[in-house]
Symmetry: C2
Subunit: 231 residues, 2 copies
């Protein structure tokens, strides 16, 4: 199969971080990936079905979503060329896909079997070690993101969530005045609260003189009070 066309995309993928295009090309011979094509609405993976390997989107766009028992879909992540999916389940004891991945547009994806990544390579490729390092990095990074999400979700009050979030921004920028990277709707979504409730609470914090804001620009006026509100 013509892997050559996709070396460019793959070399920009997290899985092949720190590999140049030539290296990726050589590795593909070793990893023996399978390329599959999907029409819009087709499934790249179906939750509950047998897991066959780590996927990388080459062309088009796909959406990974969970379907709860009532049948409601919750989109977990939008996958674009270079994005990897199934990296977590690949090395766990679970052998079924935890999510369904559906092509949003006509789509091509490449699958690498679990064994080919960890398993011993008969060509004794020197880059195998780095590939596994990348794999470990990706899964660890993913776990850290999830753990951060759990922290936010565990906070009961909206005030606590807002305060924690603003303090994190403060720590990140080092300044008491900064721009929020998302609008109210997205922030409400991220904090798992309703948009009007978020607005209401932010405004009452402003009325109390703890913060000040206009649109995406926020200024922390009373850092101590904010710290007290964080749970």
């Amino acid at each position: 199969m013509a892997f050559e066309n996709y070396v460019e995309v793959l070399s920009r993928s997290e899985l092949f971080r720190d590999f140049d295009r030539d290296e990726v090309a050589s590795m593909l011979k070793c990893l023996e990936p399978k390329i599959k094509e999907y029409g819009k609405g087709n499934y790249l993976a179906v939750a509950g079905e047998e897991f066959q390997g780590i996927g990388i989107v080459l062309e088009g766009e796909a959406a990974a979503y969970k379907e709860n028992i009532a049948g409601t879909r919750v989109i977990m992540v939008l996958l674009k060329p270079g994005d990897v999916f199934g990296e977590i389940v690949a090395f766990s004891s679970q052998s079924q896909w935890p999510v369904t991945v559906e092509a949003q547009q006509p789509c091509k994806a490449l699958f690498i079997s679990r064994e080919k990544i960890v398993g011993e390579c008969r060509h004794l490729c020197p880059w195998h070690r780095k590939l596994i390092e990348n794999m470990l990095m990706m899964v660890s990074e993913r776990a850290l993101t999830l753990s951060r999400k759990v922290e936010y979700l565990s906070i009961k009050s909206i005030r606590g969530k807002i305060s924690t979030y603003l303090l994190e921004q403060y720590k990140k920028t080092g300044k008491t005045t900064f721009m929020l990277p998302m609008n109210r709707n997205e922030l409400a979504d991220f904090l798992n609260v309703s948009r009007p409730s978020l607005s209401r609470e932010m405004c009452s914090m402003r009325d109390e003189g703890i913060i000040d804001f206009h649109r995406a620009s926020v200024r922390i006026k009373d850092l101590q009070a904010l710290k007290r509100m964080a749970q």
Copy 2:
């Protein structure tokens, strides 16, 4: 140092899964771990400080906890001999401990540097590959657990949480009558709700004829209704 004394404990650790005692003993020579001793109340790791390596508890007991900005401690996990900590941060881009680990009792722990696990081994040990496989498994398993936790936390209503939980138990056992693996307090904790609220909701679901229960024994009476309640 006298690693020999701890080969037994280590061989039961997840990191050395599928290794027998002799293999573990040989590997230790290669991994060059450092053993440290701690008195009760001492810190095995401090959140925010430089991460130095993956830890394994050898003796005693330690607690890993997060400290939020207000200073409140939230215990994440209790670590006993054989338990591993720091495995997630080890291979992410983060270089500081995300949690504080404190000795609950006089404690011994072993630390293995990140490089020694992934890095190339000059003795070319054949088991290095399996060690990395175990590492990947542990991190992946951890990520899956977190993702399951996120799912539960994302459900807004108590009813939704209970229904989802019971349906998971039903799927696991395949029977409509089963035993809950925890008491009300623990279940409330797991679902991140208060114990009386959990009781109240379970009882009203019983009154509506959806489920029936006595202590830890639960019977699903109306599966369809339960599925409808799951969000």
